[in-house]
């Protein structure tokens, strides 16, 4: 049967970026459908009725929601190329722990830097601490997955395209505080899957400016 893979996504979403990178790593051909988050399509509402959010991966008509779950699904469905998760149970658990850490800590704090008035400085300080914890986990490894680019790298790298936004509103310099993490991000950008997926910082900055206007923050 011919495979049909569709991805409902929004270009600036660091979560959607995860799924795109995973699909690219596996060389899976897919149909990218851009969603307007202020005017969600009936397909999105049908395929993700519970959360009504992107990204939604639709494989042969069946939807898979939640980006980390999508990465695992992609890894299990197309196992031949570029394993995204380790096969060793302990290393898998370790990777899932850190992806869970990223989901629980990075986004919530980062959002407060640009989307919550009066919380910028405090959130920025917390954000740096979180990045330092991740940097400590990375250590001297090439990737979070050691020699292999994988699950944790994919979970985090999308946020790099938003670093300019966090620096601007949080009045911080991520490069000076977490230079090893920046070096890691640049190594990831050398990969075609990442380079093709991450948007330009300036484009994200313009988008955030528009969002802030809509939220009445500027």
């Amino acid at each position: 049967m011919a495979e049909e893979v569709v991805l409902l996504d929004f270009w600036a979403s660091m979560f959607g970026m995860r799924t795109r990178i995973a699909l690219e790593e596996k060389r899976v051909t897919y149909d990218y459908r851009a969603e307007d988050l202020w005017n969600k399509s009936s397909l999105l509402l049908e395929m993700n009725p519970v959360h009504k959010k992107i990204p939604v991966l639709i494989h042969n008509g069946k939807p898979v929601c939640e980006s980390l779950i999508q990465i695992e699904y992609i890894d299990e469905t197309w196992p031949d190329k570029n394993s995204l998760l380790p096969s060793d149970p302990y290393k898998r658990a370790h990777a899932k722990f850190w992806a869970d850490f990223i989901d629980k800590k990075v986004n919530v704090t980062a959002r407060r830097i640009w989307a919550a008035k009066g919380e910028e400085q405090e959130a920025a300080k917390e954000f740096i601490e979180i990045l330092k914890t991740l940097e400590s986990e990375l250590g001297d490894k090439k990737y979070f997955g050691d020699e292999t680019f994988g699950y944790v790298d994919i979970a985090l790298i999308g946020f790099y395209s938003w670093f300019g936004v966090y620096e601007k509103f949080g009045n911080i310099s991520i490069e000076s505080e977490c230079s090893k993490l920046i070096a890691w991000a640049k190594r990831c950008l050398d990969r075609e899957s990442v380079a093709k997926t991450l948007p330009e910082s300036e484009k994200v900055a313009t988008f955030v400016s528009d969002c802030r206007k809509k939220l009445g923050l500027e």
Binding site: H59, V64, I69, Q70, E72, P89, R92, A93, F97, F101
Partner: protein
């Protein structure tokens, strides 16, 4: 079995997260040493060593290495002890669905119920509504199945242990009603079957 191979679980007797791991260890017949942690009082040096990031339970220690976060631990157990009671399906799509619903229980339902029961009075109505809707969504997902996992207890059932046992206690203690047998006959039936399972019963608090 040498010392290192032995499974140790650091837990808290009243925690649904801790119990998730114990339930799976029991279902799979894996012997383990249980270590009760005084999480709200004095966190032990062992906990701080094995879970320095979150300093929380449950923490599983196996072959000298630690794993934290209850659902991550459950998947580790599933990946490591392949022979007995399967918690996750084999098919990648079914696995993705199980992970989705387990995450839904964690991120939406449990949080909403806790906020509804223990949160500020001013937010109560909103949180009760959210908890109610979350539970309705789960009731619909369960449908005619015996368990969320089908004929046997699976990943989502384990994740939803809170609903099986703790929700009744929370409602009684807080005076907030969210889930009644009349409004949620399917979840009520599931609850009784879940809690009635011999392995589950063995680990539930008295």
């Amino acid at each position: 079995m040498n010392q290192e191979e032995q499974v140790k679980l650091m837990g808290l007797w009243g925690s649904p997260f801790s119990k998730r791991v114990e339930m799976v260890l029991k279902l799979k017949g894996i012997p383990y040493e249980y270590i009760e942690e005084d999480v709200y009082g004095n966190k032990s040096p062992m906990l701080l060593k094995y879970n320095p990031i979150h300093k929380k339970v449950p923490v599983l220690i196996h072959n000298g290495r630690s794993i934290a976060e209850s659902l991550v631990i459950v998947e580790y157990i599933e990946d490591t002890w392949k022979t007995s009671h399967k918690i996750l399906p084999q098919d990648p799509y079914e696995r993705a669905m199980a992970r989705f619903w387990a995450k839904y229980v964690d991120d939406k339902v449990m949080l909403a119920v806790r906020k509804a029961c223990w949160g500020p009075e001013s937010e109560r109505e909103k949180e009760v509504k959210e908890a109610y809707e979350g539970l309705k969504c789960l009731e619909k997902e369960l449908g005619d199945k015996l368990f969320f996992g089908g004929d046997t207890i699976g990943f989502v059932d384990i994740a939803a242990d809170f609903i099986g046992y703790w929700i009744g206690i929370f409602q009684e203690a807080s005076g907030v009603t969210i889930m009644t047998a009349e409004e949620f006959p399917t979840l009520q039936r599931w609850s009784e079957d879940f809690v009635g399972n011999n392995f589950i019963k063995e680990v539930l608090p008295p």
